[in-house]
Symmetry: C2
Subunit: 179 residues, 2 copies
């Protein structure tokens, strides 16, 4: 009796997990980026953190950035394995870097002169999708850049691979895993 | 026949998931921080990203930082629910912010004057653990600060709550979720 009562629950739980894994690794609906046909992967914002960085271009760009990876990418980063295996996806989220008056007020007591910069509005999200056959001509990576959920144009996507090419010895990936 | 063959597998899978969830939410072995008794939570580096920031104190501190949350914390952040429910844990990882010559060389072509700052060596990791009864005297939060896996001293931990107190209307949490 106990076994038969348990079975439907177990089936439901396993089915739920399988469905959830499929969603997590699947690609969302939405417009595909030109050239590479990459769409925004479902659930990417909940992927694990690879690293964070900050890009400054005087008078033009002032960004806080975070790179997230799906499970295949994270495993490869942690094991230091190159090239990345097929199925690895890296997401790079870029926000404006803005001063936080709230934080600065609090910090001024214990840390005079402290300046806190936080993530402001989202600027864009970029993806690198590893598929060594499909993207053989571009180091095995498909590239995509989205702003407010919409992909950039073809001219923008033509700049992705040439820019990543100098990182060939790191399988075209700039980001190092931050422990 | 199919049902009975499936049962042991389903039981094994569910048992494995339960064990893995226990590990993910459990606390690791290791020295506990003074005052609050908080240990480094197992698997925190794989938690989901809340936000990233950058702290500068001229001549003293230059850090890139990321805040991660366990599932309870992330759910509360996404739903904008305050106060955070018991069981929520926020991890704040602090790295030195260092210029990346490699990145700057690559960026110099398309973006003259670009300066890339990346996460260098880890400085410390801080945790806020919500337990409204256990930590009633400090806004329901237990605080902990670890360097190389070792907790800071009592004097350091005495500074945590007073510093977070001005954020009382945000349940003592400075970080906002970065979409």
């Amino acid at each position: 009796m106990k076994r038969t009562a348990f079975l439907p629950l177990a089936v439901a739980i396993v089915a739920g997990i399988v469905a959830s894994m499929a969603r997590a690794s699947g690609q969302a609906d939405g417009e595909a980026a030109p050239i590479y046909g990459v769409k925004i992967p479902a659930g990417y914002r909940d992927w694990k953190l690879i690293a964070a960085d900050n890009l400054l271009i005087e008078g033009k760009v002032n960004q806080l950035r975070a790179q997230l990876g799906n499970d295949i990418a994270i495993k490869a980063f942690k094991e230091g394995k190159l090239p990345f295996p097929d199925g690895a996806i890296i997401a790079a989220i870029h926000w404006t870097r803005v001063p936080s008056e709230d934080n600065d007020k609090v910090l001024a007591g214990p840390f005079p002169g402290a300046q806190s910069f936080v993530a402001g509005s989202p600027v864009n999200v970029q993806f690198m999708v590893k598929d060594s056959k499909k993207y053989a001509a571009t180091g095995g990576w498909g590239f995509a850049d989205f702003k407010d959920g919409k992909p950039g144009d073809k001219a923008l996507h033509e700049t992705c691979f040439p820019c990543h090419a100098p990182a060939k010895d790191r399988d075209y990936v700039f980001t190092h895993y931050a422990p």
